[in-house]
């Protein structure tokens, strides 16, 4: 009687793990974007504006990607370059101005393992920024020169009037 009771139990227990599901969802743990917030000229509050943003690996923007096209916002998230790159250029166009500012970002990237679902991600170290000043007054980087978390602001851009 004991055996008869035990065998179905063992059999059922053995099949329990077959119900396990793969954990294959990656949420928010991938390569972070650079979070940029635009400020007014007094640097007292965020300032919204109509912006178009283009990204390129070369200063001539011969092979550029359009990141944003005429969006009205006070913050943007910029995708950085890959593992083999060390510099990326962003063209920032305010409204319909002919002169467009160029934000140059130098960095060192490295890959790090996250999980099976996410695979690897890139993190960026030794970030440094340069900006032209057609319609941008200045830039204020965050205290950390690492980019690991896009939920915090990495760079403030102070706009001209």
């Amino acid at each position: 009687m004991k055996l008869r009771q035990l065998i179905p139990i063992l059999f059922c227990i053995s099949f329990l793990p077959m119900g396990c599901e793969e954990d294959d969802i990656c949420i928010g743990e991938g390569t972070p974007h650079l979070t940029v917030v635009f400020r007014n000229i007094q640097n007292t509050s965020n300032q919204m504006d109509t912006l178009s943003i283009y990204r390129s690996a070369d200063i001539g923007f011969e092979n550029s990607d359009t990141i944003y096209e005429k969006i009205f916002t006070d913050s943007i998230k910029l995708p950085m370059g890959g593992l083999n790159d060390e510099r990326v250029y962003f063209k920032i166009k305010r409204r319909s101005n002919v002169d467009q500012d160029i934000l140059t970002i130098d960095y060192q990237s490295k890959s790090e393992y996250v999980s099976k679902a996410c695979g690897f991600r890139l993190v960026y170290e030794n970030l440094s920024y340069q900006i032209t000043n057609y319609h941008i007054n200045s830039i204020v980087p965050s205290e950390s020169n690492e980019l690991r978390d896009e939920s915090i602001t990495n760079l403030y851009i102070v706009l001209d009037n």
Binding site: L3, I27, G30, S111, Y113, C118, F120
Partner: protein
Amino acid sequence: MNRLRIFILFWTISLFGIPLDAQQDSLHLEANTVLTVKDSLELSERHRKAGIVFVGADLYSLALSGFSDRQGGAAFISYRVFNKWNMVAEVGYESNNYKDLDWLVDVNGIYFKLGFNWFISQDHQDNSNGFYTGARISYSAYQQQIKQYPVRLSNNQVDEYGSLPAENVSAYWFEMVAGGRIKLISNLYADVSVRPMIYMGSKKQENIEPLVIPAYGKDRGPINFTIVWGLSWKLF
């Protein structure tokens, strides 16, 4: 009145008859008990005898080689140590791969399993037949090549791919065993078991959790599951 006397007579005889039957039953029972005790003494002597050795092969892993990425085979040896306790050692080779979630991983290597089977029930005619439960500690030493890994953006899209050179790694896990062994012909036995496996740890490449391990299979969380369909030969 006559009817009453006849009734009392039969009733009295009946009353005497019950203990007579009971006495007869107890005599039978005693005889059976003596035989059973004698049989069980012989059986328990046989049960206690160590030294029955089985060697076998896992047909399930061989069968899988025909129609899955899992290629390889395994052999095992079982030795009765005492009474219902059997020591079991298993060895095998397996190559496998993982092609999911934008990963491309190849592994190949050997594995060892060491543990015991404890027979829950045994056939009185042939005590090698029976149901058993048991456990194994398993270890696999294998070569892993990550041919492709994804580098994902925060929105889950794959941004680019990377690869890593082949590296020797290892993993170990615990197996619970529930199975049965039954005689087919002569000294040939079928040995079937189901095994939940609990991943315990590994030597990792670049801190990457193993996605596929020879004999453990593809990663489905901390618990995996396998079946052994074995054919074994009773040596002595």
